[in-house]
């Protein structure tokens, strides 16, 4: 496996202060520190060419994990191996094969055109003129960069800037990509474009990608596999479909009726979520979906039936809710 994480941990000492002047004075004379477990013993492995979605609420430890994998942070414990390197040794040979794109931090020089940063990266990453030209042409085509390259970066829109950021981060054709919120703040069209680009890059170069995002569309479009973490702990690692099946063991059956039907008659098929005139939404157990659908078709005056998974946002929200519950339960236990 090109990327393996074993019992990885990162604890931060955080200094505690009560609000107000007395709190400030107290903390001036005696600082109290408490360890915050940003990442708490997680293990996983990722294969070449996989795109894995990293999910979790704010502060779950996603970014901290990506920072450890890209060599910005020393782990408190455990280990990470990427492409045969230990990231925190920050060997130039490793740094030349990976990239970290942070949606909220930019490497482009604000006052100069993006092309200027590209040239600097060409030198820093020791990219040959020929490869530089080829890669830049490809990226220009995939991301429509042509009209942007010579404009001062600060004059670009957020989406245009993100496209240039991605290009700057990929000029050296990294094998491993860590994308931290690459679509944050972008409009839907631009999000789609960036998404398509990531998929295309993955396909062309068989690059291994870990992606975090708040937009579920990013994850459903790109990642077959997701890793869910919360409070620094790994909650789930597996396929997105299975996660949906496990967390939300129901399907949503939408029925268009020819005539009005009493609500009480519908109750026998499943949980009625919504009745609006002649369109009805029923929540049915996943395992009984086909059986119940057959009954509906036979017994009710049907115009149309559709079967859907509940929206993935709801599924993820439920993962986090459950995570919070177990977390609170253990916390309560610890207080006893």
């Amino acid at each position: 496996m090109p990327l393996t994480v074993t019992h990885l941990k990162k604890y931060y000492p955080v200094h505690q202060k009560e609000p107000g002047i007395s709190g400030s004075l107290k903390s001036f004379f005696r600082r109290e520190y408490r360890d915050v477990k940003a990442v708490d013993d997680i293990s996983f492995a990722i294969d070449t060419g996989e795109i894995v979605g990293f999910l979790g609420p704010n502060g779950a430890g996603k970014t901290t994990t990506l920072k450890m994998l890209s060599g910005l942070l020393y782990p408190t414990g455990g280990s990470a191996r990427v492409l045969g390197f230990t990231p925190n040794e920050r060997k130039p040979e490793y740094l030349r094969q990976m990239t970290l794109v942070m949606g909220q931090k930019q490497q482009l020089n604000w006052d100069l055109p993006a092309l200027e940063t590209f040239l600097v990266n060409q030198a820093i990453y020791e990219i040959s003129d020929e490869q530089y030209k080829r890669t830049l042409d490809e990226l220009t085509e995939l991301l429509d960069l042509a009209p942007l390259l010579k404009k001062q970066v600060r004059k670009l829109s957020l989406g245009e800037r993100m496209k240039c950021e991605l290009a700057a981060a990929l000029l050296h054709r990294p094998q491993v990509l860590f994308l931290d919120e690459p679509t944050i703040g972008l409009d839907v069209t631009m999000q789609t474009k960036i998404r398509q680009f990531i998929a295309e890059y993955n396909r062309r170069y068989r690059a291994t990608i870990i992606l975090t995002s708040h937009y579920m569309a990013d994850v459903t479009a790109l990642c077959k596999r997701v890793i869910v973490i919360d409070h620094g702990k790994l909650m789930y690692d597996g396929s997105l479909d299975e996660l949906a099946a496990r967390i939300a063991p129901h399907k949503l059956v939408r029925v268009e009726l020819a005539t009005n039907v009493e609500g009480s008659r519908l109750d026998s098929y499943g949980k009625v979520m919504k009745i609006q005139e002649q369109s009805v939404e029923l929540l049915v157990p996943r395992s009984k979906t086909s059986e119940i659908t057959a009954r509906i078709l036979a017994e009710l005056p049907i115009v149309d039936v559709t079967i859907q998974d509940p929206p993935i946002e709801d599924v993820i929200a439920r993962v986090f809710e459950q995570a919070a519950l177990t977390h609170n339960a253990t916390a309560a236990h610890a207080d006893d």
Binding site: Y12, G71, L72, L73, K105, N109, D111, A123, I124
Partner: protein, 265 residues
């Protein structure tokens, strides 16, 4: 080695391009660089009634003109950059590059030196030309040693400030260290008065500390106040301090990286 050189050239070129965007800031440096001229006015009024120690009015003019030039050509602000980058997470971007971040910082400073060199070298030569009473000794040998000593002064100032900036890894207000350093630099480097005019024991202390090598030493060379042996021992001292500071930089950097919280996004 050639690749490394190319990296520097490309980074420095970008630095120049970036700094040329800030025309206003450039005008402000020129104004803020006038402190040596204020000191010159003070000493000229004192020297009006006769030389002060071994310094005549012409010596003071030479001294402060050179002091202006040396300070311009060794100006360093990397501690502020480090402080900002460490606390706001901008260091992350540099850490991702397969080149040690110090080189990116240095190249930005070198870019500034190219610009200041183009601006101030003709200016200083012109002023020296226009003032016939000025006391300097621009012989070929002195110019040669002056250039080396100037580069050495820059290196020591740069490393010292880089090291102080690295303390931001441990204390969020590391910049107060810079204020202390600046005061010592002005006093023991020869900014307030030429070191020869300092009272004992300050004068002797100043001679053994690196601050002299950061400002006064190249000036002393160019004023013809040092013989060859003194020049060579000064250059040797610059090298020894340089090696010591580089060692300290390496140590603190490695420790700081373990400590670094990679704050910010």
């Amino acid at each position: 080695m050639r690749k490394f050189f190319i990296k520097y050239v490309v980074l420095t070129r970008r630095g120049i391009a970036a700094q040329l965007e800030y025309r206003m800031a450039m005008a402000i440096w020129i104004l803020s660089a006038s402190f040596p001229l204020v000191m010159l006015a003070v000493w000229l009024s004192l020297a009006a009634e006769g030389p002060v120690g071994s310094f005549s009015a012409g010596d003071f003019v030479g001294y402060y003109l050179l002091s202006f030039y040396v300070r311009q050509m060794t100006a360093v602000w990397v501690a502020w950059e480090l402080d900002y980058d460490i606390r706001h997470g901008d260091l992350n971007i540099k850490l991702l590059h397969p080149i040690a971040p110090i080189h990116e910082y240095i190249s930005f400073n070198l870019a500034d030196k190219v610009i200041r060199g183009i601006l101030f070298t003709p200016l200083v030569i012109g002023v020296a030309w226009l003032i016939p009473t000025i006391q300097i000794a621009p012989t070929a040998a002195n110019l040669f040693f002056f250039s080396i000593a100037l580069a050495g002064a820059w290196m020591l100032r740069y490393l010292a400030q880089f090291i102080l900036g690295l303390f931001t890894f441990w204390f969020s207000q590391a910049l107060v260290l810079i204020d202390i350093f600046w005061m010592l630099y002005l006093l023991l480097g020869g900014g307030i008065a030429p070191l020869e005019l300092l009272p004992e024991p300050l004068k002797t202390i100043a001679f053994y500390l690196p601050f002299r090598l950061m400002m006064s030493f190249p000036i002393e060379i160019m004023m013809g106040r040092l013989d060859t042996a003194e020049i060579l021992s000064g250059l040797a001292a610059t090298m020894v301090w340089g090696i010591a500071l580089m060692g300290a930089y390496r140590l603190l950097w490695a420790r700081g990286m373990r400590r670094f919280g990679a704050f910010g996004a």
